[in-house]
Symmetry: C2
Subunit: 476 residues, 2 copies
């Protein structure tokens, strides 16, 4: 049934559909209306996208104010360097070369102090080396006569650029001098090319180096004096955070498996923490790389063993792989009977809590940079609980005799003719629990690996020994 | 006892130590000799380091000739662009701005075509946008009078640099436009700063853009015409290689556990293949990111679903986590008795070989870009073997009655007074095997996850359906 009605000033056709509602019949001729609506959709879509983008940006600003300060610092450094450019006496001295100071600030200023220092040192050294080499090659080319000069220069550019590019592929070189090699190629090409035209090479080199020095010093001062972000400190916090996350997700995982579904909602966020550990390899490596360039800061001296943090990170990832598998087993379809779970509930929960205690104790060691006397005892507790779990596994067959439900018996009897009593043990049903138990044992073993690496760090970085009274009896 | 003897022309004091040997007593006055020796050590050390470095470089060159060609290409592009600089008529037209062409080539030329294109587009667009904006701001500042001009310019540099730096923190922007934002800050600062001095801004902008255009076209031509390295192709090969490695390490792992130690040597290299899968996340992401910029090449069209490769990679990593845990369990201290292993040997080996067959079949699908009719049947076989393994686990208790060795019985009897027959099942002893079995079942489930993602890719990329005859009966 169709009816026409007047609504909001224009004629509209509505059709009543069987479920009781009515639909508007849009006249086919309304191309303008159609395109209007389409345009409206596009505008709404774009507005929504911009809104969500700004929302995301706002969240980053609120959650990580350091990043927000970094942006202000970049603006400040650039304003400083362009202020220098506006001062006429300086400008008259340096001419158009002053743009190199601006360029240096833009390219060299990085989020962490270490990265900035790394780029500064790379840029300064590479410019100096390539400049000297360029002038040398230029002199040699000059001696070869006017005909051979371009050939010598071209050949040298080809060879040095190819060689420097090749070095950038070698991992150990790439980690430290990638930017330096890029600047080396750039400066060498510019010097050897421009040298063919401009005769006052030495003056240019002098100006270039001093403008770069100005840019570099503005960068270093700004990045070190105003809210500095130290790569070392970031690496240290990352490892600490990851230790906590690992402990939380281990606890969450085991709790989710052994307790009722009621608490699942709360733990689901904590549970995913191990994924951060799995994905933080690249960040750890770059931070450790930059931290090496940093001077002493906070509780870290210049030769702090940053490489050891990578080993700790790697042993933590080893543990996270196991938690990932555990998580997979827990959410698998085959679930153990509740009665069996109850048998293991207590000891597994205790093992996971002791294991995560060890992780938390390691976190305390890291945070206070003090050898904790409690680590050893909590590792002992963990290992003791591992033994308890093993004996719980040993005693399982006795328990099974008590647990075996009539339903299981029936299904087993249906398939095979059981010759003797033991045939009633439904091994497939206990498999999930034993796998969880055996993964927990493996996780405990891998946590000991983390303990070893943290101990090694404590030795290398000369952590203070624990004051026995203070650490054994915390204030309540 | 000490004695003096003449050896090789100089006086030497030797002291006989209790173990029968004698030590040379070095006279304290021989500072020159000492420092000579130290210098010698240093020289030898440096030589060895340089040698090992060159050896490593040589290995990279031999193993990955593509990287070697890339270096030649960079050299070639730079020679080309500096050749352009040498031509006097061009030089006279562009003046010192010609260095921007050289700079563009050095900074923009990357290993893969996609990365080069990404940087080229970023650089060109950012220069254009920032240039226009810079000229606009400069005009506004001009209108404000001589006193306010520097203030307006400084403020605009500060605000735009801070905003652009902030956008670089947003992951989705960083992935695609990081370089563009850097160039935006650079160009805007340069234009607004130099605009204060140079009045012929438009001419400069024109020259800058055309030199960048020259640099960009040289880069694109060189990187696309001479031995191009496509990011898409690299990603595709990486995923294929990883599928093979995953299959090999699964096979190797299970074989190492169930067969005798004789074959361990051969498989240890294959066994570690899953580690490549664990560590290739960053590479996959950057390759997929660059591949989106590439035109159609090889069997890939412009809108090839590169993002789906990331999903395949992620599901492969999921599987690799499990293999990592499996590897840990296999090398754990508690080992199952040989008799038990034999019971599972056959079915576990078959499951691992069927599982790795599925992986290899997926590899074939990817390689031929043809939907394989065999995948489905090999998944069926795998799942069938999973069921077989499950029934082997079910039947384990009967077997245990046969296997239980007198030694085990004795040890069990010693600890506990067994009330009935079933108490003799040594569950702790069978735990390693059941864990391995249950991990194999979990791995099979995760392999199905990979199958789903590859199927999705086959749909999205419209792989050809298999020709039934050809794929079912391969030539022998």
């Amino acid at each position: 049934m169709a009816k026409g009605n007047e609504f909001s000033g224009r004629l509209e056709w509505r059709i009543n559909v069987p479920d009781g509602t009515s639909k508007t019949l849009v006249p086919e001729s309304g191309i303008i209306q159609k395109s209007c609506r389409r345009l409206q959709d596009v505008v709404v879509g774009i507005t929504l996208r911009i809104w969500s983008f700004l929302h995301k940006a706002w969240e980053i600003g609120v959650n990580e104010p350091k990043k927000f300060f970094h942006c202000l610092k970049v603006g400040m450094a650039l304003s400083l360097v362009s202020l220098f450019y506006y001062m006429r006496p300086l400008y008259d001295g340096y001419g158009t070369n002053a743009i190199w100071a601006v360029m240096t600030v833009v390219v060299v200023f990085e989020y962490t102090v270490g990265a900035t220092l790394c780029k500064c040192v790379n840029r300064a050294m590479a410019t100096f080396l390539a400049g000297s080499l360029g002038i040398g090659v230029h002199w040699v080319a000059n001696q070869c006569g006017e005909n051979f000069e371009p050939i010598v220069l071209e050949l040298s550019v080809f060879l040095l650029a190819a060689a420097a590019t090749f070095f950038r592929f070698i991992p150990s070189v790439k980690a430290r001098f990638d930017y330096g090699l890029l600047i080396f190629i750039l400066t060498f090409s510019l010097v050897s090319v421009s040298g063919y035209r401009v005769d006052k090479l030495f003056e240019m080199a002098h100006q270039r180096l001093s403008t770069i020095a100005i840019g570099v010093s503005i960068c270093i001062i700004t990045s070190m004096l105003f809210c500095p972000v130290w790569a070392g400190q970031e690496l240290y916090s990352l490892i600490n955070r990851n230790l906590e996350k690992l402990a939380d997700s281990l606890d969450g995982c085991v709790a989710e498996y052994f307790t009722d579904d009621g608490t699942k909602e709360d733990s689901s966020k904590n549970l995913q923490g191990y994924k951060c550990v799995l994905n933080s390899k690249a960040t750890e490596e770059s931070m450790a790389n930059f931290a090496r360039w940093e001077p002493a800061h906070g509780s870290f001296n210049f030769r702090h063993p940053w490489k050891q943090y990578l080993k700790i990170g790697s042993s933590m990832r080893n543990c996270a792989y196991c938690i990932e598998t555990l998580n997979g087993c827990i959410s698998s379809e085959i679930q153990a009977p509740e009665s069996l779970k109850k048998h293991f509930n207590d000891v597994c929960m205790r093992l996971s809590s002791h294991s995560s205690n060890v992780l938390k104790e390691l976190g305390n060691t890291m945070k206070s940079m003090t050898k904790s006397s409690k680590t050893e005892s909590s590792v002992r507790e963990m290992n003791f609980t591992v033994e308890e779990l093993q004996s719980a596994l040993k005693s399982l067959p006795y328990q099974l005799a008590l647990f075996t439900s009539p339903a299981l018996e029936a299904s087993n009897n249906g398939k095979d003719e059981a010759p003797t009593e033991p045939s009633k043990v439904p091994l497939l049903e206990i498999l999930p629990v034993t796998t969880v138990a055996s993964l927990l044992i493996e996780i405990a073993a891998r946590i000991e690996g983390i303990v070893e690496e943290v101990d090694e760090l404590a030795n290398q970085a000369e952590f203070k020994p624990a004051s026995k009274k203070g650490s054994k009896e915390p204030a309540k």
